[in-house]
């Protein structure tokens, strides 16, 4: 089985994110790591091929530093990595990112693509779906359980009142939640072996995408500070507090 895991290199989630003069998140030269959310997808992928044979290849688009994310994935057990890095891709929006990832994935045979539900720095959560559409494969999201058997992928998808079970023939793309599998901690041996594993480096031109396809259709033109948020509302117990909580739940689309 060929499993592809999409991984993102995110600036240190505990650090203070900075915006550069071009209003883009500074990713270069900042200590970052493999997006913790992606480790869950990677773990799910590793378990599948450990049970059924196959390989996991991790794919990431980012600056040169993103190699650290790939190395982490390799240390955990991925067999190989592909890094797409190119100045022209700096500031790529979700659609361009998806095009690049889809073009990369298309270069090799694949049965299953796994991604996390959303990245910890962006949380738009749309890239995986766009990739699926570009690849022309079925996709399912919010999998809390993921299995592959007889050419079908079977997931449990979290719903409001419980869960649904969905099935799709392979190849398919699935996004997973943190409930899917507890990620393994890489051994030092794994970290050392990671350096010997094959990593392919690609540029935008290797992918055969046109200029138009690489142009972002969105651009940030200005950034300013938001008015300081109250460090939380303090309320006395009572009907007003209850209403306020219910409002917040409604805003969060939870009720």
């Amino acid at each position: 089985m060929n499993v592809i895991v999409l991984a993102k290199y995110v600036p240190n989630p505990q650090g203070v994110p900075e915006l550069g003069p071009d209003h883009l998140l500074v990713r270069s030269g900042v200590e970052g790591a493999l997006d913790p959310g992606d480790e869950y997808g990677l773990e799910a992928g590793l378990r599948i091929i450990e049970a059924q044979g196959g390989e996991v290849v991790v794919v990431s688009m980012g600056p040169e530093e993103a190699m650290a994310a790939i190395q982490r994935a390799l240390a955990m057990g991925a067999h190989g990595g592909i890094l797409i890095t190119d100045d022209v891709l700096r500031g790529a929006d979700a659609l361009v990112t998806a095009r690049v990832l889809a073009a990369t994935i298309r270069r090799r045979p694949f049965d299953l693509v796994i991604a996390s539900v959303e990245s910890t720095d962006g949380y738009t959560g749309t890239v995986p779906m766009t990739v699926a559409e570009l690849l022309g494969v079925p996709s399912a999201t919010f999998a809390r359980k993921l299995d592959v058997a007889e050419g079908l992928v079977r997931i449990e998808r979290q719903t409001e009142g419980g869960y649904d079970v969905l099935e799709s023939p392979l190849p398919a793309l699935v996004t997973v939640t943190t409930a899917v599998a507890e990620p393994r901690y890489p051994t030092l041996k794994g970290i050392m072996q990671a350096k010997q594993k094959p990593v392919e480096r690609l540029t935008a031109s290797d992918l055969g995408l046109s200029r138009d396809q690489l142009a972002s259709s969105q651009g940030v033109v200005d950034v300013h500070d938001a008015p300081p948020k109250d460090r939380g509302e303090a309320l006395e117990a009572g009907p007003e507090a209850v209403a306020r909580i219910a409002d917040l739940l409604a805003e969060a689309r939870v009720i």
């Binding site: 738009t124 996709s139 939380g232 309320l235 006395e236 409604a250």
Partner: protein
């Protein structure tokens, strides 16, 4: 919000219950509601809806498409990005013009002005908090949508649906996590939190280490440095002081609510809404209120 930009608003509703929803959509300003109650949209989530919408976009050529941030909308919007060649502006807080939107990033500390440069229609998903729904008092015409799906869009299918009453969703995946601590005073009072969880739906009950140590709930409930880490949309801490060991397990929740009778409890330093008072009053009242709102 769409109304502020133009009078020509059309809504799309796909799936069982679509035509039922039409009057409500009309009441908020939609002139036309393209609807189809076809089961297929429910049985094959994602791709069919996206392709039908894409076809409607081709036919009607709107300038702008607005989405909510529900999971279903996101799935459709994601696929539409590929189909229309226009990038989704996600989590916008305001749309200021046909190609100008505003959003918040970095945890709400910065506001970005975004230029939408792609081909029409522009795609924007709007954060629910941003806009209040204002009724316009209008009605809409319902335009039935022709559903003609090629097989390949139906490869993904729902095979089972499960309602989980008692067990509830796992802590890690739940949208809402309600955690109980020593302030509950008695293990029996966890039932109150179960009630609240059931009222909300996609909610799970957890606990602080103190409650687990006291034997009130099993270790699988424990949230904190030696327990689970949760990142729900909403975390509600009930009778929990919020010391560091617990905080590390929940501080990444998108919104934090705390209910505790001790005004000095550290958890109030993390909470977006902190309620100082008797949890035995607040929690049942909240459960009531949620049931009421959902019922209507």
């Amino acid at each position: 919000m769409a109304r502020r930009l133009t009078d020509e608003i059309e809504a799309v509703a796909l799936g069982p219950g679509a035509t039922e929803a039409a009057p409500a959509l009309g009441g908020h300003g939609a002139r036309t509601v393209h609807a189809s109650d076809d089961r297929q949209f429910e049985d094959h989530p994602g791709a069919p809806a996206a392709h039908v919408v894409a076809r409607l976009l081709e036919e009607h050529r709107p300038n702008l498409v607005l989405f909510s941030t529900s999971y279903a909308s996101r799935d459709v919007a994601g696929r539409l990005q590929a189909l229309t060649g226009s990038t989704l502006m996600a989590n916008a807080s305001a749309v200021l013009g046909p190609d100008h939107a505003r959003g918040e990033i970095l945890g709400g500390t910065k506001i970005v002005e975004v230029e939408l440069r792609g081909p029409d229609p522009k795609l924007v998903s709007v954060r629910p908090k941003a806009i209040a729904a204002e009724p316009s008092g209008g009605t809409a015409t319902v335009a039935p949508v022709r559903v003609d799906l090629p097989d390949e869009l139906r490869r993904l299918r729902v095979v089972e649906r499960h309602q989980e009453e008692a067990a509830g969703p796992k802590l890690e995946g739940a949208k809402v996590v309600i955690a109980g601590g020593r302030g509950l005073q008695d293990p029996a009072n966890f039932a109150m939190l179960d009630d609240l969880a059931r009222a909300i739906g996609d909610a799970a009950v957890g606990a602080s280490r103190a409650a687990v140590d006291a034997g009130w709930v099993p270790y699988s409930y424990q949230i904190g440095q030696t327990g689970k880490t949760v990142k729900p949309e909403v975390y509600i801490g009930v009778g929990i002081s919020g010391a560091l060991q617990h905080a590390v397990g929940m501080k990444q929740a998108k919104r934090i609510i705390a209910i505790n009778k001790d005004p000095d409890a550290p958890i109030f330093g993390l909470a977006d809404i902190g309620v100082v008072g008797d949890l035995f009053e607040v929690v049942p009242a909240l459960t009531e209120e949620i049931r009421r709102r959902k019922g209507s």
